[in-house]
């Protein structure tokens, strides 16, 4: 369960984060790269395995709005914070 330790090694190329989502796109959380930030995200319900959907961005591009899980529960977070939410690669998932 060392999902929050990923930051020690450089990110694998092409690993997408919640900041890379297009508006309306849904993806699954894979891991959280910043240990301290992870604690805050975890207690707010952003756990590996939950789905996140990008609802939209503020007019200046930052912060952004994410809906968690299938509940109507929306978080607002800065780009720097969204970058710590790494997403599962849908291709890798379907092969597994």
């Amino acid at each position: 369960m060392a999902f929050f330790r990923r930051s020690v090694s450089p990110l694998p190329a092409g690993r997408r984060t919640a900041n890379d989502l297009r508006p309306g796109e849904t993806a699954t959380v894979c891991c959280l790269s910043d240990p301290e930030m992870a604690l805050k995200l975890l207690e707010m319900g952003c756990i590996p395995g939950t789905t996140v959907r990008l609802v939209g961005r503020a007019p200046l591009g930052d912060p952004l709005m994410l809906t968690l899980g299938d509940e109507d529960y929306t978080l607002s977070l800065r780009v720097s914070e969204a970058r710590t939410i790494q997403l599962k690669d849908p291709l890798a998932e379907s092969q597994a």
């Binding site: 319900g45 007019p59 607002s76």
Partner: protein, 731 residues
Amino acid sequence: MPAAFTRQRSAPRGPVPAPTSGSVTGPATASRLPRLALIGNPNSGKTSLFNQLTGLNQKVGNFPGVTVDRKTGVAQLGGARRAEIIDLPGTYSLYPKSLDERVIADMLYNPASPDYPDFVVVTVDASNLRRSLLLFSQLADLDLPAILALNMTDVAAERGIALDVPVLERELGVPVVPMNARKGIGVAALRIVMAEQLAAPPAVRFWEPTEELLPLVRQIRYYFNLHNDYLALHYAHQFRALGFLSDDDRAYLAELTAKYKFDSTAEQARETVSRYGHINELLLEAVTVTRTERREPASNRIDKVLTHRVFGYLIFLGVLFGLFEAIFSLAKYPMDAIDAGIAALSAFIQAHAHGPLIRLLTEGVLAGLGGVLIFIPQIALLFAFLAVLEETGYMARVTFLMDKLMRPFGLSGKSVVPLISGLACAVPAIMGARTIESWKDRMLTIFVTPLMSCSARIPVYTVLVALVVPDQTWGGFFNLRGLVLLGLYLLGLTSALLSALLLKTVLKARERSYFIMEFPVYRWPRWKNVGLTIIEKVKAFVLQAGKVIVAISVLLWVLASYGPGDRQARAEAQVRQAAAAAARPAGPDTERAVAAARLETSYAGSFGHLLEPAIRPLGFDWKIGISLLTSFAAREVFVGTMSTIYSVGQDADLGTVQQKLAGEKDLAGRPFFTPARAMSLLVFYVFAMQCMSTLAVTYRETKSWRWPLAQLIYMTGLAYAASLFVWQVFG
């Protein structure tokens, strides 16, 4: 980690009997009211419930060492029983992420604390049960007797979420009361359940420290004689922040955690994930979601407009304008009434009694009291606005819209509202900074808000601008005086933002600041909550900042009314003799000349003379020096003092004061108030902290004299430097 998921029914409690609640507080228990703490996530309706339970029976104090309001109240329970309720700051877990949340740890981890509750009422959002139960499960594992207030059942029902309350009660091991605190539904049932004096802690265990942690946990537990492993684990996690531990205790824990290579961050993450696993399992049974149609929630549709790139800002601008109008124009009427009322009362007293004590009462105390009461309309209106913005959920959108713009200056999206309010008055504006969660952002906002040009500067600005700036219009549109006035406002705004930037680099953050926040759904405001907020804020201001204001006001009055030795009497005699010699009949002219002479020979006058060498480089003389001192009570007093010194009488209108000032000549016989001198004075008033009420309210909001003092020194220094520059370059 299967051990973590095992659920224990109440029977096997562990080796040490849980010494909860009653037994800890000892013999005093019988005489005092049962104490309960209200705890829950932000936006879970905790404040609504607190208001429902206590109504006007609320007291606001503060937790030691932090700037968190400590709201307590007495609630009537079922069966004519009563209980003392304490409202804790909203939090998502027992691991504090902000200074405010530490209050909870200090209270719940120390059974010897005078605030230690007999039981807790946990408010949870029924439409977000999974997340809400995380906090509940932590509380339950501390063996705190608890009641679950299952709030916002209406929102849950709307979303097709059906909750099986009996199953929840069984799974959670505590009474569960479904309710809608905003509307007051279920509150009666909650009162009855609360009256039943829970003795037993929850009968369910959600999570226990893993095998590897047990050696560490047990050692802490026996060392501190704690009743529970989980509590001991929290000591390991949080000992650095727990105020009630001694330095030796902390050193012991530091050594112990190092010895066992305890990784607090990793363990917290592991625990949280494990708890969610358990909660998910439990909710499978208790919750059924039947979504009839998957339509977009109304909130999202409203957001499309309110956070739109064009309309979003336009609407926000409109809201700000409304707020500004309210505290600027609307508040004027009650403020004028208060002013007139105090003046009438003081005239009435003076008409019926005389003597130095009466003058102290009317001109010192009553004037000071008037100076406190005068702020009530603005505070009430600003907080009515703020409460509605918070209640409806719009404030979160404001933060969302403005965050990127404010961040370069070290301010947050939430700083916008206090800063704009500061254009009307810094006093309510600084109180409004309470909505900013991050300690550093809040301090920055409080620190720079008084630099925004408030309405008390307007009389000073108008007199001086009209004095030296010709009433010209450029291009048939731009009035020169208007442009100068605008320039002064922009100077204030720029200095506020730049000061924030400066302070941002100086001030160390005390905590990691997170922006991440829940976006609450839009709701209609509950007027009861709005009303109680207004009452609470007005009370806090009058009782806490008011004392300081009255004290300074009395002091300033003494300085301006009395002088050393018999200098005042001699000066007065001199003026009267001169009048008699010139064969002028005694009248208002003589009285005004006497007032001017008395003021000049008062302590304030001496101070003005004393100050002159220091302010001469700014182009100021002793007369301005006196006004600087007296206008420390409030900036607009500057005009009144100048009127007295130039013996035009306190009640003269601005035109008369202007004429008098314009007629003032320097030693060489040229007009004293040159554009450069007036500009120097104007710039001084843009920057200077000439307001004891702001200092008093900063003290009340930061709970420390260091902040108002720093503000005073910084702003006065800035004002001095700016005036010096203006006078030395242009004078």
